[in-house]
Amino acid sequence: MAAAGPSVFLLMVNGQVESAQFPEYDELYCKYCFVYGQDWAPTAGLEEGISQITSKSQDVRQALVWNFPIDVTFKSTNPYGWPQIVLSVYGPDVFGNDVVRGYGAVHVPFSPGRHKRTIPMFVPESTSKLQRLTSWFMGRRPEYTDPKVVAQGEGREVTRVRSQGFVTLLFNVVTKDMRKLGYDTGPPDTQRASGPSPPQGLPR
């Protein structure tokens, strides 16, 4: 049925979890996973991953660089439920317990090309000061039951969160047959398509 045209479109995402800014923390690692709608199915690549532990750079930026690759391909019939990448960052606390340092999510860019996204990361807050103290002591901070919660809006009204830092992601997006199915996501602003990122770390 090649004449009938494609029945699915493909979205290929590769890129990397580049780096993070967590001013107070060190030795962090991150997990990522994708949240997508019912009409989506991953066809190739890894849906989730866990990175190495990285330490702060010694320079002024104090960046936590992972450069952890992402490579996944989805097929879908429907742009509804466009994939979101959910990041959760963990690291040791004062007592060496592994605690969560941030959750964040962002939609995979829908226009083909190279995209850089910096997403703010947050963690749920303890319900009371006493809880906070004890959770600090026990090294069992409040966590989401499922990190995928951050990709959805439902039920979030019961939570309170605190900002923690930022994670920078780089996406290279390739789509196939989107236009044939009638979805014109269009190229992004051509001027904005940034080439290789400028060398960072120059003191500004």
């Binding site: 029945s7 699915v8 479109f9 019912q38 009409d39 989506w40 199915a41 002024v60 930026r61 879908s76 019939t77 429907n78 509804y80 850089k116 910096t118 749920p124 303890s126 319900t127 009371s128 006493l130 809880q131 004890t134 959770s135 026990m138 069992r140 409040p142 966590e143 989401y144 039951t145 499922d146 919660v149 439902e154 039920g155 979030r156 009204e157 019961v158 939570t159 920078t168 199915l181 904005r192 940034s194 400028p198 960072q200 003191p203 500004r204």
Partner: protein
């Protein structure tokens, strides 16, 4: 003593070590000999060496000396930290020994130091070498690396500090570089190097160090002061290199080889003296003094400080800076820069008044990414005005804009106020008069009229002169006449004006006098008003002349006037006279004609001419007339005009007067003033009847003036219809009162901001105020006179000075509503107002009214200004335009609908998406909805549509009974609605659903966790740890397993010898003496098969089947087998959906069947025995235990001993009872005869059971009661968190109901009562059996873990399905009606988990009834499945178990004891008499027997077919004879309820059937559906016999009970003919 001594010791040791160390470190390669050589040689090394070393030498010698002086101290302090740990000898060594050692050490030390010092003095070179090395090192580290990295870093880190330092260094360096090196004067060193040095490139050093070297140089120079040898600098050669070269030189001299690394590598240990560092720091750092700098230093010479403040100039407040900081800054500035530009004339640092910004400013977000910054760039867009819907009618083409009306409210003056004192009243009057005067004076109408008069007179004069001949005489005359008349009028006006002026002046003076007298009278002044009359001298003569001339002119004019008048009259008279004459003539002629006739009327006719003659007579004689006129004129002049020569009086009102201070006033006046102070005024600006803004509240001044000075810019959209100011007065803190409304005129379009004059608009209020102080009040009569006469009533009044104007836009265009719109209203504001009032301001929506108004007001339809309105009206009256009568929220919705709704509905894809998002069960998890409609199969919807269609159609295909079908349908619907509710509730999240948070640990947990720390890692008796629970999301098929641990069984029925067919064992003789269980192993199966007689044996094994997966244990032997085996059964969730909701609704049961394995020898021929074994294994079903999966799921584990459900008759088997006694079991056990199996069942991994919905259902209960229930429950949960406490339940309609309402005596069917009228116990059992026959359907399955829904007993009987609670309630109600004391008992049992039982009190003991099985247990029955009791519920109270134990064996059921049972209703909360939710009476219909019989036949047929289906490879023969025999037995069984019929039954059967070996059993079930029956038959495995000649028998019997409760008996048997 000890520590000190130790320290000393350490020091000495270190010295030794240090010497060695340094020696070793320095001279790694050179031997000791070489060193000695060198030492000797060095003094003779030559002058060069000496010279080169000399700068250091000086320095270092100094240092060394210092060091040696302060050695002990500095060394300890410096070396202390890295000293070796103290030798722990002090305590052990004896004192003598110790002191000896010490002394020795001291001596040694002294000698050493002496030697050293001598060495230093005598041979200086080795010392410097040694000491120089740290210096070299230091240079290397500090200046070689630091400038590269360290300095940079420090610069960044603390900028200020390092900056200053660097700067300072620089400056020093500058100074340093000044001393010139004599050019062309090579030093000895240089010269030496030139010849000797091998100029190897040393890149790392030479490149890195210039700066450092420079600095080094500077340091040295400064340290050394005047040194005879200035350091060589010009050629980048520094001391260090020199040193190196010197070393080189040494090595060279010594003839030792060296490599390039040596220069770098051979470095002595880092060393730096504190003093050196301090010294250096002193040079480097500058510490400004904190002392106050004397002023003269800060100012240029010979300048005195000048203090501007003293000179009266304004100087802002200087920022607060501590004195010390200021001093430091001043010192620094003075030292750093000699320029005094930082200091002001007063000798202080120049400072801005307040350098801080008054408002906070947000710091820029520091993002590193450029593009992010660009993205975040905000673009300011003005808010877009939303155009009103109703606005489209008028001037729809006009661009809507912002129009602005500026209202400037400058102030408010009260002309009267209740707080006015009398003086104020006068003052106000005076001021008013004065204002009037001023206004008049400004206009000066009198003067204007006088001038006019003059001009007219002149004109008349000129007109009389024949200067203009061309004009016709006629016109001139006419003009003159006009002039004259005008002169007359003007004169009159002028006179009136002049008179007014004069009276005004008089009044002013009068009022002023009054005021003065009042002030004198009351002895204080309230107002600063002061009237001054200024006299203006006039030239008396000229004045008199002018006066006289004026009078003369006036007289002449008057005369002239009179003359004219006279002339006119004369003329008129003449004319009249002529007429009269003519008339007289005619009259006379007439008279003559009819003289006789009219004799009677002569008088009237004579009278007639007289009036005509009269004016002629009074013609005044001129002289007399003139005098009279003159008199009149003079009189008038005297009255109205200033007398000639009299000075003109100019009143001047000033506010220069002083008000008496409060102390001088009487109390009443003070009160008044206080009152005034408390009052404040504000204005509201009302635009089109809406408040748009208001002024600030300003206090009322003592002069009753309020200054606002506020400008309101009204951004308006509609043409202003009204503009009102409301004056509000606030008194103290009490409320505000509306004083008055001031209506402002809407300004003309020409009045724009900047050109609008300030206008005063008066207002007055009709409020009545009476005050108890000096204030006169408002609307209240008062008088100035002492006697109270001449009363005045003054109302509060005042003036608002304001200006209203149109604003001007940015480009100079006035912001006035456009012409077309404005014209309608503006051209005739009155009409406009009429239109609005007639139509209503809410909008021009009612066009009919508008048309009516247009007709009434006679609008000119041709006026272009009215064109839009007329068009609108015409459209409206013709009805062409559609005016919406509603307000539309999404006006453009239709435009945005890209397809019509029908088309949208036709789209299959869209429908699919919709259904999925609605979570319709069929589509809830639909994945990958196709992209095109054409790819969606029509059949996708078929099921769904069918379900929708069938919702109301009851089909009987699956159900053999229509009633059941209806019930099933109903249940299905209830389930659906509840599930829908559940789905909604699922979207309500709690914090715990989203966030995992540790509970706050209490002390006990903390203690426990502390205790845990101390506990052993591998304890000898390990405690069981809870398994980790798994959330169901990540699971897939095969992940979950059901583990069944079959441990042991008791009292399995044993085979009965077939031989008994010939004997008729008595019923009483139950205990068979020949049973030998002790030797089961000795029997071989074949043997037993051959010789079954007398051999009592059973070889039971357990088969567990779950979801059609079957596992079985090995075969054990004997009636009390022990297997102890673990069986693992995989679990598959329906549709692969492992969500909690799905798992909860799994309806599968775990069947645990116990079989007897029977081996039969199939050897046909006895001769072959010994050569082969041919046996056939048969399995005989003995009993089963059924455990629903949901129970396992919710309980997580099931552990206990269960009663095996053994059919009442097991053909070929009998219960062995003697064993009980033999084994010495408790006698109590024999009470509950039965077989038991011990099981442990669990799920691996452990699943998190779903929680019930936390939805709070509404209730019709009393709120107080509900609160009490909550309190009760929390109290109970606090004490015994694991005990079930139930106070409210949810009924089938989803309402919360108090639980006792369910309990009410309800009579059981009469049929049951009649069965055993004399035996209450039997009746009770019968009733229990009846209740147990109602099928069991757990709520948790039907309502997927949502909640327990309690149906009332009639609902329960109608539905014929319910769980434990319904059964228990019904049974309890029956017992209550039977007159028993019965309670509902909430607790937990195995395997059900939390459940409901019924407790009855018999004469002496309590009985526990299981309502689902109909069995009852004594309180002390160990095999009672009820394991714990939470609470008891009676018809009028709830008792919570507060006893220590909750096992029914150990508790006391006496609810009257408050210590043991906490009751809900007590004295504090008496039972309010709650009405029951149960019906008055249960109505039982008799079940149709014929239907039951039909059902019976159908079931039998279906089961037979099923058995044949299950045996696909074998022939299934039915033994009709046996079947009919069985069929006869079943009613008997029903009658006896399956008890005590076995032996009779068996005997009869044997008699009938003859030589058959058969196994079989009756199954008894309540009837709900067909499927459970089939399942039950299947699970017995009767069909599994594959003996070729096997025959089957199956009989079904249904016993109908009232209310369609059916008891189903199925008798299954297999027969094998014995040969």
């Amino acid at each position: 003593m000890n520590p000190k001594e130790e320290k000393v010791k350490i020091i000495t040791e270190e010295f030794i070590e240090n010497d060695e160390d340094t020696g070793v470190g320095r001279q790694k390669k050179t031997s000791k000999v070489a060193r000695q050589k060198r030492k000797k040689r060095l003094p003779t090394a030559g002058p060069e060496e000496m010279v080169s070393e000399s700068p250091h030498l000086g320095h270092q010698q100094e240092l060394v000396q210092e060091d040696s002086d302060t050695r002990s101290l500095s060394m300890t302090s410096r070396r202390g930290p890295r000293s070796l740990p103290p030798i722990p000898s002090a305590s052990r060594t004896g004192f003598a020994e110790f002191s000896m050692r010490e002394r020795m050490r001291e001596k040694l030390q002294a000698a050493r130091s002496k030697a050293e010092s001598t060495l230093l003095q005598e041979i200086p070179t080795p010392r410097p070498r040694r000491l120089r090395s740290p210096r070299e090192k230091e240079l290397e580290t500090e200046f070689g690396t630091e400038p590269g990295e360290e300095v940079q870093r420090t610069q960044q880190e603390d900028d200020s500090q390092s900056y200053s330092r660097v700067k300072f260094r620089d400056s020093v360096r500058k100074i340093k570089s000044k001393p010139p090196v004599p050019p062309g004067f090579p030093s000895a060193e240089e010269a030496y190097n030139f010849f000797t040095f091998n100029f190897d490139p040393e890149p790392e050093e030479s490149e890195e160090k210039p700066k450092a070297k420079n600095r080094d140089g500077t340091n040295q120079e400064e340290e050394e002061g005047e040194e005879e040898e200035p350091p060589v600098q010009g050629e980048h050669k520094t001391d260090e290199e020199e040193l190196l070269s010197a070393k080189d030189d040494e090595d060279f001299l010594l003839g030792l080889d060296h490599r390039a690394e040596d220069f770098v590598a051979v470095r002595p240990a880092d060393y730096e003296s504190v003093h050196v560092r301090l010294q250096m720091e002193k040079e480097l750092l500058f510490v400004p003094s904190r002392l106050t700098v004397p002023t003269y230093k800060k100012l240029p010479e010979n300048v005195q400080p000048r203090f501007l403040e003293d000179e009266g100039l304004y100087i802002g407040a200087r920022p607060e800076v501590p004195r010390a900081c200021q001093n430091i800054m001043e010192n620094r500035l003075l030292t750093q820069e000699p320029g005094r530009k930082w200091f002001g004339d007063d000798g202080r640092i120049l400072a801005l008044p307040n350098p801080t910004k008054g408002f906070p400013s947000r710091p820029p977000i520091l993002t590193r990414e450029q593009d992010i910054k660009a993205e975040l760039e905000t673009l300011y867009k003005k808010a877009v005005k939303y155009v009103h819907r109703s606005q489209h009618m008028i001037g729809s083409g006009d661009p809507p804009g912002n129009f602005q009306l500026d209202i400037d409210i400058s102030g408010l003056i009260f002309t009267h106020h209740p707080c006015f004192s009398r003086e104020h009243v006068l003052a106000a009057k005076l001021a008013q008069l004065y204002d009037q005067y001023l206004a008049r004076h400004q206009r000066n109408k009198a003067k204007f009229l006088t001038d006019k008069l003059q001009a007219l007179r002149n004109a008349v004069q000129t007109g009389l002169n024949p200067a203009k001949p061309h004009k016709s005489l006629d016109t001139t005359q006419k003009a003159i006449n006009e002039y004259k008349s005008e002169i007359r009028q003007t004169r009159k006006l002028r006179d009136a004006e002049q008179e007014k002026d004069r009276t005004l002046l008089k009044t002013i003076i009068k009022v002023w006098k009054e005021m003065k007298s009042l002030r004198e009278f009351q002895r204080f002044t309230n107002t600063p008003l002061k009237l001054v009359l200024r006299k203006e001298k006039v030239d008396q003569k000229a004045d008199e002349e002018a006066f006289e001339a004026e009078i003369q002119a006036e007289i002449s004019e008057l005369l002239e006037e009179h003359m004219e008048e006279y002339d006119q009259k004369m003329e008129g008279y003449r004319a009249a006279y002529q007429q009269w004459k003519a008339w007289k003539k005619a009259q006379r002629a007439k008279k003559k004609k009819k003289k006789q006739a009219v004799e009677e009327h002569p008088d009237g006719e004579v009278e007639e001419p007289y009036p005509g003659e009269e004016p002629v007579k009074p013609v005044p004689p001129e002289p007399t007339d003139r005098a009279l006129v003159e008199q009149q004129v003079r009189e008038r002049a005297a009255r109205s005009r200033r007398r000639p020569g009299e000075p003109t009086l100019v009143p001047e009102l000033s506010l220069a007067g002083s008000i008496s201070p409060n102390e001088q006033c009487p109390r009443a006046e003070v009160l008044r003033r206080e009152d005034v102070k408390r009052r404040s005024i504000y204005l509201k600006v009302i635009f089109n009847d809406k408040e748009v803004s208001r002024t600030e509240s300003r206090p009322l001044g003592a002069d009753f003036r309020v200054h606002f000075g506020q400008i309101f810019n009204l951004q308006i959209f509609n043409w202003p219809e009204s503009l009102t100011l409301q004056v509000y007065e606030t008194v103290g803190h009490s409320g505000t009162t509306l004083l008055a409304e001031v209506f402002l005129p809407v300004p003309e379009t020409t009045i724009v901001t900047g050109r609008a004059p300030i206008e005063e608009v008066e207002f007055s209020s009709n409020q009545h105020v009476t005050l108890d102080h000096e204030g006169v009040g408002s609307g209240v009569p008062f008088s100035f006179e002492a006697d109270g006469s001449n009363q005045l009533i003054l109302m509060t009044s005042g003036k608002v000075s304001n200006s209203v104007s149109w604003a001007i836009g940015e480009n100079g265009i006035p912001l006035i509503p456009p012409l077309s719109e404005q014209n309608i209203g503006f051209r005739s504001a009155l009409k406009r107002a009429d239109a609005i009032s007639s139509i209503g301001t809410s909008g021009l929506t009612d066009l009919k009214k508008l048309a009516k108004w247009a007709a009434e007001s006679k609008l000119d339809p041709n006026d272009p200004n009215n064109a839009p309105l007329m068009q609108l009206i015409s459209v409206a009256t013709s009805g062409e335009s559609y005016v919406p009568e509603f307000f539309r929220l999404e006006q453009l919705q239709q435009e945005f609908n890209f397809v019509s709704d029908e088309e949208l509905n036709r789209s299959k894809r869209f429908r699919l998406l919709c259904l999925r998002s609605q979570e319709v069960p069929e589509f809830r998890n639909y994945k990958q909805i196709p992209a095109y409609d054409r790819e969606i199969m029509e059949k996708v919807f078929q099921d769904y549509e069918k379900r929708l269609r069938d919702r109301n159609v009851i089909e009987t295909k699956d159900h053999t009974d229509t009633h059941r079908a209806i019930v099933a349908k109903y249940l299905q619907q209830v389930r659906e609605s509840v599930i829908n509710r559940f789905l909604i509730a699922k979207h309500h999240f709690l914090l715990s659903d989203l966030i995992v948070e540790e509970e706050v640990p209490n002390i006990s947990i903390l203690g426990l966790s502390l205790f845990k720390l101390a506990e052993q890692k591998r304890p000898l008796r390990p405690r069981r740890k809870g398994r980790k629970k798994v959330t169901a999301q990540t699971l897939s098929d095969g992940d979950i397993k059901v583990l069944v641990n079959v441990i042991r069984a008791y009292d399995i029925p044993v085979r009965k010898p077939t031989a008994s067919k010939f004997q008729q064992p008595a019923r009483s003789s139950r205990t068979f003496s020949e049973k030998r269980a002790a030797s089961p192993t000795t029997h071989s199966p074949t043997h037993s098969a051959d010789y079954p007689l007398g051999q009592v044996l059973v070889r039971p094994f357990v088969e567990v089947s779950f979801q059609r997966t079957i596992c079985h244990t090995t075969t054990a032997e004997g009636p009390n087998p022990s297997w102890n085996e673990e069986l693992e059964l995989p679990f598959r969730a329906p549709n692969g959906d492992y969500s909690t909701a799905s798992l909860q609704s799994v309806k599968d049961d775990v069947f645990i069947n116990i079989f007897d394995e029977v081996l039969y020898d199939v050897l046909e021929d006895d001769r072959e025995r010994g050569r082969g074994i041919h046996t056939r294994i048969e399995r005989h079903w003995l009993g089963s235990v059924k455990i629903p999966f949901s129970t396992i799921y919710f309980q997580a584990k099931i552990d206990g001993t269960f009663k095996i459900d053994i059919p009442p008759v097991l053909l070929g088997y009998s219960k062995e009872r003697s064993l009980i006694l033999e084994r010495g079991f408790d006698a109590a056990r024999s009470l509950s005869a039965g077989s038991y199996i011990t099981l442990f069942i669990t799920i691996e991994p452990q699943l998190v059971p779903g929680e019930s919905v936390r939805e709070k259902f509404d209730s019709q209960e009393d709120e107080k009661l509900l609160q009490a229930t909550e309190k009760f429950q929390t109290e109970c949960a606090l004490k015994f968190p694991h005990r079930q406490c139930l106070t409210t339940v949810t009924d089938i309609s989803g309402k919360t109901v108090f639980v006792t309402r369910y309990l009410k005596p309800l009579s059981p069917p009469q049929e049951l009562l009649d069965a055993r009228p004399n035996d209450p116990q039997a009746t009770a059992e019968l009733v229990a059996r009846y209740v147990s026959l109602i099928p069991f359907l757990p709520d948790t399955v039907s309502f997927a873990g949502i909640c327990d829904l309690w149906s009332t007993s009639d609902q329960f009987l109608d539905l014929l399905a319910g769980d434990e609670e319904e059964h228990a309630v019904l049974l309890c109600n029956y017992f209550l009606s039977l007159g028993k004391k019965a309670w509902l008992m909430m607790g937990s049992a195995i395997p059900e988990g939390p459940t409901a039982y019924v407790l009855t009190q018999e004469q002496s003991h309590y009985l526990i009834w299981n309502p689902c099985t109909g069995h009852f247990y004594g309180q002390f029955d160990t095999f009672c499945p009820l394991k714990s009791v939470g609470c008891l519920i009676g018809p009028d109270n709830i008792w919570f178990n507060t006893q220590q134990y909750d096992s029914p064996l150990r508790i006391n059921f006496d609810v009257t004891k408050p210590k043991l049972w906490k009751s809900f209703f007590s004295r504090s909360l008496p039972y309010p008499g709650l009405s029951s939710v149960q019906p008055e009476e249960l109505i039982y219909q008799c079940t149709d027997k014929a239907a039951a019989a039909e059902l019976q036949d159908r079931i039998e047929k279906i089961l037979k077919e099923k058995i044949m289906d299950w045996r696909p490879r074998h022939l299934t023969r039915w033994n009709r004879y046996c079947t009919s025999a069985l069929r006869h037995f079943l009613p008997v069984l029903e009658r006896s309820r399956g008890e005590d019929v076995e032996d009779d039954h068996r005997a009869e059967l044997l008699k009938q059937l003859g030589d058959y070996r058969f196994s079989g059993f009756p199954l008894h079930m309540p009837y709900s559906e067909l499927k459970p029956l089939i399942e039950a038959v299947y699970s017995t495995g009767v069909h599994n016999i594959d003996v070729p000649n096997v025959e089957f028998a199956l009989a079904v019997y249904i016993h109908p009970y009232p209310k369609n409760v059916l008891s189903v008996w199925i008798y299954v048997a297999s027969l094998i003919r014995n040969r």
